[in-house]
Each structure stands twice: as structure tokens, then as C-alpha cells.
Amino acid sequence: MRSALLVLALGTFAGLSVDAGAEGIVSAEAAVSHDNNLSRALSAGDIVSDTASNLAASGGFYFALGERDAVTMTADLGVSEFRRFNGMNNVALGGTASWSRKFGLGASAPWTKVSASFAREQYGESIRDGTRSNFTLRAGQRLSERLELSGGGSFERYRADNVVNVVPGLSGDAFSLQGRSLFARADYALNDRWIGFARVAARRGDVTASTRRDPEIFEYSNAVTRDPAFGSDYIAYRLSGTTTWNFLAGASLALGDHSSANLAVTRALTYASGGIEYQSTQVNASFIVSY
């Protein structure tokens, strides 16, 4: 991950030395989201749902390195506040560096984009604090005036700062995760203002789930710690080798050249060893401005 960031940074500075034609970019998003299984719990009694208000902003520069290549660097800020579970409130501050290439001229030329991002995250309950990093490779092409297809893969890792052991002989690092995903996405323009989109992703890796104290769960998890975000009697446990399918569908309405209203629904199905299955549905309504 560090080497990827270094390559991107070097590419950026190489481009700057060739031509300092940087283009400032900024975007902001205000959203309300609802998750009907925020705890990623298995049994109905442990499932908690909540609604969050989210604000995100990013700003930076776009550098056209030539006629085909470009580098984008942004600083990113995100804030989430939950209605019920204040321990989940969080602030994320980080950055993203991307390199993109167009294989030809015009809007329908195939493209690829490599992005590396990292963020420091601080939560209402500090046991969840940590650093998130993500490396994504995607490619796509506009097949017609209306349809654009893209797909790719990503690797993500979250390193928790605070490890609290609560079960002798079992790691307390339940919030540190890593996973890799493959995804495909389609964007379809209904007209000049409306775009419908759908995305499917398969993720293989770790998940953290929370439940009230249940000794049976120790059999399947490789890390357990306390999780006061959902209550003093909750524990968080990490399952490895899980597979999560994410199905997303949404629509976006352009409100102007620089703003849009968006609605998306995501259905996530997680399968772990021992017949453990989690399901959750997230609904996200957002207003986005970009320049």
C-alpha cells in the first residue's frame, strides 16, 4: 500500500514538473442513511437499526499529465452522527490519490483508474478508532450515450488502535479487518437529468459483528472484545473468511450542472463458516455538490 502511494505521489510530482496545469476540484455530500442491521448481528434479539446523518467533503487537484493520463489528489473529510448509538458517531480524515488513463479520444474511450486512499477514523467509542486504507483498480467504458459499464477490484484494511482482550487466549483485536472485493457497476442515463445505477460486489475477508454475550460465538471467531457502542452487554467478534454479496440500486437526479439528489438501496448478505449468515439493508439519500 505504501509503495502504491509512493508511486502515485511520484507520478504527480513528475506531472507537475512537466506542466503545472492543475485544476482545482471540490465536492461535498450531505446524506441521511438508515441501516437495519447496524450491529451485523445474527439473531433477531441482537439486531439494532439506526439512522445517521452524514457529511462528507473533499478537495484537491486534478493534474492532466498528458493527453491520456491524469492524476487526482484530494483531502477527504467525513462526519457521521447516529440518532441512537452515539458510540458509532465518527469523524474520518484522510486523503486519496488516483491515476487514470483513457485509451483513446472521446467520451466513449475505455478508461482505467487506480486509487489509493487512507483515513484516520475516530469514533464515539474509542475502541473502534483506527486507520483505514484502500486500494482500488477499476476500468470501464461508455458503450452508448446512455450506458456506461465499469468494474474492478479493491483491497481494504482497517487497523484498530486499541486492542482490549476480554477472553483469555483469544485476541482482542476484533475491529481490525481486511478484505478484497470484486465489483461491477452499470450507469444508465434515462435522460439528461436522471441516471439509474446498479452495482454488485463480492467481498471476501473479515467482518466484525456485535452481539450480546454468547459463548457459542467464540467457536467461530478469531478475535473478541467489548463493544460499548451498542450497550455494556455487547461484545464484538471478528469472523474471517466470510463472503459478502452487496447488491446496490439507485437513482440520481441532476439539480443543476454541479449538484444532484441521489437515492440508493444496498442489500448485503454475509456468509461465514458454521452456517452463520447476516443480512442488512441500507438506504442512503444524499445531496451532492461538485465543482
Binding site: 506542466d19 496545469g21 485544476e23 476540484i25 465536492s27 455530500e29 486534478y62 492532466a64 498528458g66 493527453e67 491524469a70 487526482t72 488516483s98 487514470s100 483513457k102 479520444l105 472521446g106 467520451a107 474511450a109 478508461w111 483508474k113 477499476r138 470501464g140 461508455r142 450515450e145 446512455r146 465499469s150 457497476r185 450507469d187 442515463a189 435522460n191 439528461d192 437529468r193 441516471i195 445505477f197 452495482r199 446496490l248 439507485g250 440520481s252 441532476a254 439539480l255 443543476g256 450542472d257 454541479h258 449538484s259 444532484s260 441521489n262 440508493a264 442512503n284 444524499s286 451532492i288 455538490v289 461538485s290
Partner: protein, 226 residues
């Protein structure tokens, strides 16, 4: 003094030209007042009205006027630019970022490599037709150059009106084009016989297709424009 002399020479040249025009075009010039609306009857801006003499367009020297299509606020300005065939067009970039203007259109294929400011050389449009402009950096940017084989053309304003003035008294075939025109441009053609000093009023109600451009507004979770 030099400016005064220059102005005097220009005035003399203009008078000479007008005298020639009077000799070759007896009588008062004719005109066409065109009104273009969409299928709902709403005024249609950016429609190009072209009058082609029925006996054909006489050969003429390439137009000397310096035509310009700007890039302002990451858009082509104007959105539609009618020009006479043979005209040279400059593409000044008035944004503080770089653009890469191109066209794949059969009437003119060209590419202006990534640039800021104004390219030193203009692009010469030597074939009639529609030229669609794009920017390889900003996919939502689109513009049109209408290259007319006839010197008699005008573009509608926001009121859907266009005025073709100083037309020789001739028979014409008049047609209309718009970026969203459904069907061939030739289907809009109609005759107009203009006598000395006459004024013809023509109107079109165009059937427009739904235009789907690359959207500039953000889309949740997409790759974005950058």
C-alpha cells in the same frame, strides 16, 4: 493620423464594395424572417436556418472573418456556431485549466492537443456538414459547428427567431437544422421565391429527439469526472 488614414481607406473600400454590390444586385435586398419552435410550439434557440440559391451557390473566396468558439466555464460558447464553408475557426480557452478539443465528424476530424490560451493556428472547415465538438478532459463538453455551403444563414435566438438579410432576389431552398432535430435536415426544406425588397416569413415546428449528453452533475458512487 495613421488611424485616421486607415479609417478613411476602410471607408473608401467599403463604399467601393457597396458600389459593386449595387451593380451586381439591382434593386433592394430581400430578407427571410424565420421562426422555429419545438413540437410543443415553444421557441427553439440554436437552430440554424440556411437559404441556398436554387440555381446553386456561386463560387467565392474563402471567408476572411475570424470565427471563434470559446471555452468558458468548461463549456463551448456558443453551443452552436454556424460558419461558411472554408472559414477558419479559433478555439480560445478562456478557462484557467487546459482543454483538449476534438471532433470525429466526417465533415472535419481534428484534435487540438491539451492546451491553455489560444492555439496559434485556426482550424479550417473546408467541407459542409455538422461538426460535433468535444473535450477529451471534460466529457460533458459538447458543441456544434454548422458548416454551411451557402453564405445565407442565421441562428435562432432565445425567441426562436432568425433573420436572413441582404439576400439577392432569387429563388431559394430554405432548411433548418438543430442539434436535437429528429430526422434528416433535408426534410425541413421548403422553397422561397424572393423578389427585390421582398420579405418572406417562414416558420418551422421541429420534432426533437431526446438529447442524452454526458451528465456534468455528480452521481453517487460513480468514478466521477476526474
Amino acid at each position: 493620423m495613421r488611424a485616421s488614414l486607415s479609417a478613411t481607406r476602410t471607408s473608401a473600400a467599403a463604399l467601393f464594395s457597396l458600389s459593386l454590390l449595387a451593380l451586381t444586385r439591382p434593386g433592394a435586398a430581400a430578407q427571410i424572417a424565420a421562426i422555429v419552435t419545438d413540437q410543443e410550439g415553444r421557441p427553439l434557440a440554436d437552430a440554424v436556418v440556411v437559404a441556398v440559391p436554387a440555381q446553386g451557390v456561386p463560387p467565392s473566396a474563402p471567408p476572411a472573418a475570424r470565427e471563434i468558439v470559446d471555452q468558458i466555464g468548461q463549456e463551448f460558447v456558443p453551443y452552436v456556431k454556424p460558419i461558411l464553408v472554408g472559414a477558419s475557426v479559433f478555439f480560445p480557452n478562456k478557462d484557467n485549466i487546459r482543454h483538449q478539443v476534438y471532433s470525429f465528424s466526417p465533415a472535419k476530424q481534428f484534435e487540438l492537443p491539451l492546451y491553455a490560451g489560444t492555439p496559434a493556428r485556426p482550424v479550417v472547415f473546408d467541407r459542409p456538414g455538422i461538426v460535433v465538438l468535444g473535450c477529451n478532459i471534460h466529457d460533458w463538453m459538447i458543441g456544434y459547428i454548422y458548416v454551411s455551403e451557402s453564405p445565407y444563414f442565421a441562428k435562432t435566438g432565445a425567441d426562436g427567431k432568425a433573420h436572413l438579410i441582404d439576400l439577392p432576389a432569387l429563388s431559394y431552398r430554405v432548411r433548418v437544422w438543430h442539434p436535437r432535430l429528429q430526422g434528416p435536415e433535408s426534410a425541413t426544406q421548403r422553397p422561397a421565391d424572393l423578389g427585390d425588397g421582398s420579405r418572406a416569413e417562414l416558420s418551422w415546428k421541429l420534432v426533437l429527439k431526446t438529447e442524452v449528453r454526458v451528465r456534468r452533475a455528480p452521481v453517487s458512487g460513480s468514478r466521477g469526472h476526474y
